[in-house]
């Protein structure tokens, strides 16, 4: 049985609570009265996923069954979400592999010859062959990759992009040409959080910079309250306009999946339990893990975390017309992640873990940590932000200025050059975005190496724009002072210090809310 999420009020019976901070976690004793938002417990997983996939493909929402859409001689393209979801990467077999195998089985039965598979990585880095193989599975990889029929989307390959048209609000819709010119485009998604999926899949995952900049900009992000809530997200409004336009041009068959909250495998599963319910074994593993982390050299610690594979269970598979499918998917996501919270607070506390969408098999640099904390976690609300306007956000992360040169070359320059000059998303956008987006070296690395596109760090900063606009103070507990200062924030060594620092803004006894994620949660703030 899984219990719904709830809001704990810290009292004198409450044990110290886990707060994630990068490649580690700490036990924090919160001030009495702090509200702690716990996500719902993991929903029971489907017992027969393959059966569910078959059912979804044969009884789709608002569409004919998949087999009837497949015919010999057609051009079929299968696009799928890249490595940025789910987090942490899923234990094999990946749900995408199971779905793609089911789809390909039907395609083979129908005699479809012209099939290509595209990782919809937009401006994300190209996946390595091993990463592609992890997602689609060995069978699919072996059948398609050597022939060059399984590949990463290239948003800079002018020859392989098609400008489909403009939306009614003059937004360019430009996506992968192969996908756009297919008789059927099948999109396989993993809907990890409420932001994912729907029309965010094809019009964004397969788009070019020219198309993306209409919604990936500071103005849109400041006005999206929040981007986790498609009803109130300008980002999603734009994507929906594009998606509807695309749907008129091309037949899209969307397959969406949802996962439960089983984020941490054994022996780290104590991190998923509510602390006061920890048994002797949980306490012992926690102590052992803490000591192990303290003892481990940085490299080993990094490996310990990044080798984690989540034992996710699948909670839903839906297929068919994009919007009909997404409505069902979203309901599943909300069922797993939504928690009701009464009222806003003065201070929001967030623990930023070791992993975000953009540092799988990589390092979480200061910009990604900011994006994770002030972007994804801050925006994990519906209704209104968890923290009041003019309040303070306290984040936990070491914020070490370490960058992965292979994956994040433009981030280093963004950090050294752009942030040194200004941290205002709008200013940065006006002054530097163009230069980074068109820098031939970044383009080269994006296309041939495994680098995020030159403009990507800007997007990360825009992701945090709403939070920076909304709150007065941002303090990082345990953060590297120089790196935090570079980003225009402040660093403290303990929660008490951080509260002291923000007391000028929120008073000496502020109301505090701590979102205890991961696993993922959405605070439904009334």
């Amino acid at each position: 049985m899984s219990r719904p999420g709830f809001v704990l009020e810290v009292d004198d019976r409450t044990p110290p609570l886990v707060v994630h901070e990068g490649e580690g976690f700490r036990l924090e004793e919160f001030p009495l009265g702090t509200q702690v938002v716990y996500p719902p417990e993991s929903l029971p997983a489907m017992s027969d996923v393959d059966e569910a996939i078959q059912h979804a493909l044969l009884h789709p929402e608002g569409s004919d069954p998949l087999p009837s859409l497949l015919r010999s001689g057609m051009r079929l393209t299968i696009a799928f979400d890249d490595i940025s979801i789910p987090l942490p990467p899923m234990r094999k077999p990946d749900i995408r592999q199971r779905i793609i195998e089911a789809v390909l089985t039907m395609a083979a039965d129908a005699g479809v010859d012209d099939v290509e598979l595209i990782s919809a990585n937009a401006l994300h880095r190209r996946l390595t062959n091993a990463e592609l193989k992890d997602i689609v599975g060995e069978r699919v990889f072996r059948s398609f990759h050597p022939q060059g029929l399984l590949y990463n989307h290239d948003a800079e390959d002018r020859g392989n992009l098609l400008h489909v048209g403009m939306t009614d609000q003059d937004e360019d819709v430009e996506i992968n040409r192969r996908a756009a010119e297919s008789d059927l485009l099948i999109y396989v998604n993993v809907n990890l959080v409420a932001m994912d999926g729907g029309h965010k899949s094809v019009p964004i995952g397969l788009a070019s910079y020219k198309s993306l900049r209409h919604h990936h900009n500071s103005k849109t992000m400041v006005r999206s309250h929040s981007f986790m809530d498609m009803e109130k997200s300008h980002l999603h409004h734009s994507a929906w306009r594009m998606g509807r336009m695309l749907a008129d041009h091309l037949k899209i068959f969307t397959i969406e999946t949802t996962l439960n909250n089983d984020v941490f495998p054994k022996p780290y599963d104590f991190l998923l339990k509510r602390e006061w319910e920890w048994g002797v074994k949980d306490q012992a593993s926690m102590l052992a893990v803490r000591r192990g982390l303290a003892l481990a050299p940085d490299k080993l610690r990094h490996k310990m975390f990044h080798d984690l594979r989540a034992p996710y269970g699948v909670t839903g598979v839906h297929a068919g017309e994009t919007e009909a499918v997404h409505a069902k998917t979203l309901a599943n996501v909300h069922r797993q992640q939504m928690v009701e919270v009464q009222g806003q607070s003065d201070v929001l506390v967030l623990g930023v873990p070791y992993l975000g969408p953009y540092n799988v098999n990589s390092v979480m640099n200061p910009i990604l940590a900011t994006c994770m904390g002030l972007g994804y976690y801050f925006n994990s609300y519906r209704g209104q932000p968890v923290v009041r306007r003019g309040g303070a956000v306290i984040l936990y992360h070491p914020v070490k200025p370490d960058f992965n040169q292979l994956h994040h070359p433009s981030y280093v320059d963004f950090y050294e050059e752009v942030l040194a000059e200004s941290t205002d998303p709008a200013v940065i956008e006006a002054k530097h975005e163009e230069a980074y987006a068109t820098d031939p070296w970044y383009v080269h690395l994006y296309r041939t190496s495994h680098a995020y596109h030159g403009v990507h760090p800007f997007y990360m900063w825009y992701w945090a724009a709403h939070a920076m606009d909304h709150v007065e103070e941002v303090v990082w507990v345990g953060g590297d002072r120089r790196a935090v200062g570079r980003m225009g924030f402040r660093a403290a060594s303990t929660l008490a210090d951080a509260l002291e620092m923000v007391s000028g803004t929120v008073g000496s006894s502020p109301s505090i809310t701590y979102l205890r994620n991961p696993p993922h949660l959405i605070a439904d703030v009334h």
Partner: protein, 402 residues
């Protein structure tokens, strides 16, 4: 009798300094320094055109430190005469009348000992006004010595009195302080460097190093040339601020230099083995103002094909592959000329004198520190880490006894 710091030939000390000086700079101002404080006869100004100069301030230059640590190439060993009194960045007062300059005039020194000073017929370079290229620096009635401060006969700035020839002297306007005036000589070199670089309108220039040479070169580039972006590689915070004041558009730290240049010039980055890292594309002109191997190579590696690299510091041995492969124009810039063809024949010192009167140099001058001669070990120590300690120029003030 006067006090003077004298550099003498000592093979063991030179070897010691060369062996460990790079790692333990302290040893250069300590036991291994081939330098001593002596009392000696005043040099006599017996020939026409020569006069005695009483030193007000005399700077410690990077090349002086190089000579003390034995890092200077043996190439120069034939161009100096031991023992000599170092010091070629000098401001002082004339003690004798010197042709048109009356006794008591405050002067700065153009240290090159040219045909005129040596009493020989002007060589081709001297006739053309390129006095820094004089070919006669080892002959004539003076002992060999490329400059005052490397010649056994003239004395040098690190003493109370030395002698100088009229051709070397430039009167200082009253509105310059001594501290500003002592910067005129390095500033003249910077002016020369900036003019040597032959900057076209809008050229992107990289200045590698932000010691006094780098900073003053930045100033000269901004004031005298139509350079576009100027990127300065600076290690220390106060250097970064000064570089910006002097007109740098972008300041980067050494380890970030290639990356910064790549970003602003949209070049491509190549990584060879063993940390060989360089750009394809890059700045139009790079000026090395340090002379270390790292700095020289950085300049070579950050310059676009067909670009120009100006060596302003005394260069160490460096990998010249880029110069060959990218067809770089590698040019030297030594001291200053009495007539600069790139500045309508005006002299570097005249231009430098004008720049020295500007607000920027006044700021730098306020950061000039001075030591009496007998505290030379401290002074050298300070000069070694001037950048870190926030000074642009360390000088001797032989008038002071404290």
């Amino acid at each position: 009798m006067i006090l003077a710091l004298e550099m003498f030939r000592s093979v063991p000390r030179m070897v010691a300094a060369k062996a460990v000086g790079g790692r333990i700079p302290g040893i250069l101002s300590g036991p291994a320094a081939p330098l001593r404080l002596v009392s000696r006869e005043q040099p006599a100004a017996s020939r026409p055109g020569w006069a005695r100069v009483r030193v007000r301030l005399s700077g410690i230059c990077g090349s002086d430190l190089g000579a003390l640590s034995g890092r200077t190439s043996l190439y120069f060993s034939g161009l100096v005469s031991m023992p000599f009194v170092p010091g070629h960045e000098v401001v002082g007062d004339l003690m004798d009348d010197c042709d048109d300059l009356p006794s008591g005039t405050r002067v700065v020194l153009d240290s090159v000992l040219t045909c005129a000073a040596r009493g020989v017929e002007p060589c081709a370079s001297c006739s053309a006004g390129a006095t820094n290229r004089c070919d006669r620096i080892t002959v004539g009635h003076l002992a060999p010595g490329l400059q005052t401060g490397f010649c056994a006969d003239t004395g040098g700035g690190w003493s109370q009195v030395f002698i100088a020839h009229r051709s070397q002297l430039h009167a200082v306007p009253d509105d310059l302080t001594d501290e500003q005036a002592v910067l005129v000589e390095p500033l003249a070199c910077a002016v020369h460097t900036a003019l040597r670089a032959r900057v076209n309108r809008g050229d992107h220039v990289l200045v590698s190093g932000a010691g006094s040479v780098g900073l003053l070169t930045t100033l000269a580039l901004r004031e005298l040339t139509p350079a576009g972006d100027i990127t300065v590689v600076a290690k220390h915070a106060h250097q970064r601020d000064l570089a910006r004041d002097f007109g740098a558009t972008d300041v980067v730290v050494p380890d970030e230099a290639l990356r910064g240049v790549r970003r602003s010039t949209r070049a491509f980055h190549v990584r060879g083995q063993l940390g060989r890292s360089y750009l394809l594309g890059g700045v139009d002109i790079a000026i090395d103002a340090v002379g270390s191997r790292k700095s020289v190579e950085q300049a070579l590696h950050a310059t676009k094909a067909g670009g120009r690299v100006v060596l302003s510091g005394m260069p160490a041995v460096a990998d010249l592959s880029a110069a060959w492969f990218r067809e770089l124009e590698v040019i030297g810039s030594y001291a200053s000329a009495s007539r600069e063809p790139a500045a309508d024949g005006r002299g570097s010192f005249d231009l430098a004198m004008e720049l020295a009167a500007g607000g920027g140099v006044a700021d730098v001058a306020s950061g000039v520190v001075s030591y009496p001669l007998h505290r030379w070990r401290e002074a050298l120590d300070h000069a070694h880490s001037a950048g870190r300690l926030g000074a642009v120029k360390v000088t001797f003030d032989p008038r002071s006894s404290r």
